[in-house]
């Protein structure tokens, strides 16, 4: 029980990060309870908030819910907490009755400043960037997908890429079949798993990448641009450079996409039109 409670506390802390939004919520609840006891927002929101908090922190209910949704995502129960309505309602209650328009406007600006100070700007957190494709995937992914489709023509092939490129390949072009995807998901056995680990290793060993890729007959490899020595290591394994995009190079096994054919392409039904 103690362990569950401690875990729950960690989820709670992570949910609010280092922000002061949690305190904004606490002060809002107190304000509504003390000064606006008979308002609808207080009567309806605060009891519900209390029930959600009891449910979240109570080890018995936490254990039950964790069994249903999984331990690692238990923090999502906090989505039930009406943080935005409570904070916004309390602040509005405080400001709405000011008769002087100027003072009211100043208070609204102050409230916005308090929100900004308590939280963190979504743009400042580095969430967005500009890309040059409508699908809004990394530009390297778009370029690699175009390159590989042009090179392979109508041939069936398999492609392997690291955790930066891999997740977006089939978002951009679902006709490309992958050896594995993000974090090795969907991998077809030990060989593919090994290639995933090699291609995502902290220090790349291009001989190993090439050797494993060749062994499991992976037609295309997307790797961080190698230096001359590393290029030779890949070429020694039979991979030829097709082109580059940003920090990445596309390598093909053999002289064309159908020079080799993985048995995986025959063993399974592939969703290729």
């Amino acid at each position: 029980m103690k362990e569950i409670f401690q875990q729950t506390k960690i989820f709670w802390d992570n949910y609010w990060g280092k922000s002061l939004v949690m305190w904004l919520l606490v002060f809002s609840i107190l304000y509504l309870l003390i000064f606006r006891r008979h308002k609808k927002s207080t009567k309806y929101l605060i009891p519900y908030t209390a029930v959600v908090l009891i449910l979240f922190f109570c080890p018995i209910s936490a254990k039950f819910i964790q069994k249903c949704i999984g331990k690692t995502v238990y923090w999502r129960v906090l989505w039930l907490l009406p943080a935005i309505p409570v904070i916004a309602a309390a602040m509005t209650e405080f400001m709405k009755e000011r008769k002087n328009k100027g003072i009211q406007f100043g208070l609204v600006l102050l409230a916005i400043a308090a929100i900004a100070y308590s939280g963190r700007g979504i743009y400042a957190a580095g969430n967005y960037k500009l890309v040059n494709n409508y699908q809004q995937v990394p530009d390297e992914v778009a370029a690699i997908c175009e390159m590989v489709k042009k090179d392979a023509g109508d041939s069936e092939f398999l492609l392997a890429a690291d955790n930066y490129i891999g997740p977006y390949v089939r978002v951009y072009d679902p006709s490309i079949c992958m050896m594995f995807n993000r974090e090795g998901r969907g991998n077809a056995g030990a060989g593919a798993r090994r290639l995933y680990l090699e291609i995502n290793a902290p220090v790349f060993n291009y001989t190993n990448i090439g050797a494993v890729g060749k062994r499991i007959l992976c037609n295309y490899l997307v790797v961080k641009i190698p230096n001359e020595q590393q290029k030779k290591e890949l070429e020694n394994q039979g991979y030829q450079e097709v082109g580059t995009a940003g920090n990445y190079s596309l390598y093909r096994l053999g002289v064309s996409a159908d020079a080799v054919r993985s048995p995986l392409l025959d063993r399974w039904e592939w969703g290729v039109k």
Partner: protein
């Protein structure tokens, strides 16, 4: 088809059709546009969930689902428009509009900036390798959850975590209905234009509850709600962050639109003296949460349950509680299925 034409079609299916379908919920009461729009989505999401589950099991192709969903949605929209015409036949539609306060326009500017940022700029989220790739894969293979979006090979067993909450199929279907617009473009550029304002329509409805008849207070509330979301970059877990960076994923729509709207509905149905909505809306909201995410299957009945507990203490009305429980029935059934197969 021209990109602009596809965009217009997308807006028809994602804005006009839900708004028209939502009119069917108006009944005798005069609903606000936000409520009509949100109710329209409840109807369409619930219909999608009900259509998709059997079609996955029957391994039916995507084009059949697209045709059935398109026909039904268009049917509801036409029925809604006919109802609207009938109700407003003898009414003067030129109502005197309340003049919005400066706070309303400030809120509109903040929301528009958010929409612009989300639609025009890219947020890289590796979860897209399932949520968006499942839609691109379904469109490419004309199948529903038959092909693994991670690799492109056929599923040997269905993905247990996702099969009961097929929101990517909704993305695939509306992409097809929009002249074959690429699902990634639909998700990253069109969905934010629809779902972000929807999140604020919910806040508007909540503001209406707290500050009924107080125009300026409602506008301040909306502005502050928008600002809180703009400054939700403090953790990657909170609902505001999900709303702002990955609104195209089902769980983000759940956290920022459907769960807050469920709060609104639960207050209407379970806590307020005079019920202002129909039980059907609460039922559809619970089913819609199931479509969006497997979390919705569990979280929607938990939320409804919390309100039922409060209602029992506050109103002591067992009839309401019984009806509320009945509205959670689809979630219970899917929840048991989720736990059993998970």
């Amino acid at each position: 088809m021209d990109m602009v034409m596809k965009g217009v079609l997308a807006l028809v299916w994602l804005a006009v059709v839900p708004a028209a379908a939502g009119i069917l919920f108006t009944g005798k009461r005069q609903l606000k546009f936000a409520e009509i729009f949100l109710h329209g989505y409840l109807l369409l999401f619930a219909m999608m969930e009900i259509l998709v589950l059997p079609m996955i099991l029957l391994k039916m192709p995507l084009h059949v689902l697209t045709a059935v969903y398109g026909s039904l949605a268009a049917g509801f929209a036409v029925a809604g428009l006919l109802l609207w015409k009938k109700k407003n036949r003898n009414k003067n539609l030129r109502k005197k509009m309340e003049r919005p306060s400066i706070y309303f326009w400030m809120a509109v500017v903040v929301i528009l900036l958010q929409v612009l940022m989300c639609a025009a700029m890219a947020h890289m989220d590796a979860d897209d390798c399932f949520y968006v790739a499942a839609a691109t894969t379904d469109v490419h293979t004309d199948s529903i959850f038959a092909v693994d979006p991670y690799t492109g090979c056929e599923y040997r067993i269905l993905p247990r975590r996702y099969v009961l909450s097929p929101f990517p199929v909704f993305l695939a279907v509306v992409s097809q209905l929009s002249g074959g617009l690429h699902p990634a473009i639909m998700a990253h550029m069109i969905f934010p234009v629809i779902f972000l304002p929807m999140a604020y329509m919910v806040q508007y409805c909540l503001g209406e509850k707290w500050f009924s008849g107080e125009k300026k207070a409602k506008d301040i509330y909306l502005l502050l709600a928008a600002c809180i979301c703009s400054f939700s970059g403090y953790s990657v877990y909170n609902a505001g962050n999900f709303q702002m960076v990955r609104i195209w994923q089902g769980k983000a729509v759940l956290a920022s639109v459907l769960l807050p709207y469920l709060i609104c509905l639960c207050i209407s149905m379970l806590l307020e003296k005079q019920r202002k909505n129909s039980w059907t809306a609460l039922l559809l909201a619970n089913i819609s949460c199931c479509l969006l995410s497997s979390m919705g299957i569990i979280l929607a009945p938990i939320m409804t349950g919390c309100f039922l507990a409060v209602s029992l203490v506050m109103r002591k009305d067992w009839k309401r509680v019984g009806k509320g429980l009945l509205c959670c029935l689809p979630s219970f059934v899917l929840g048991i299925a989720y736990i059993l197969i998970g």
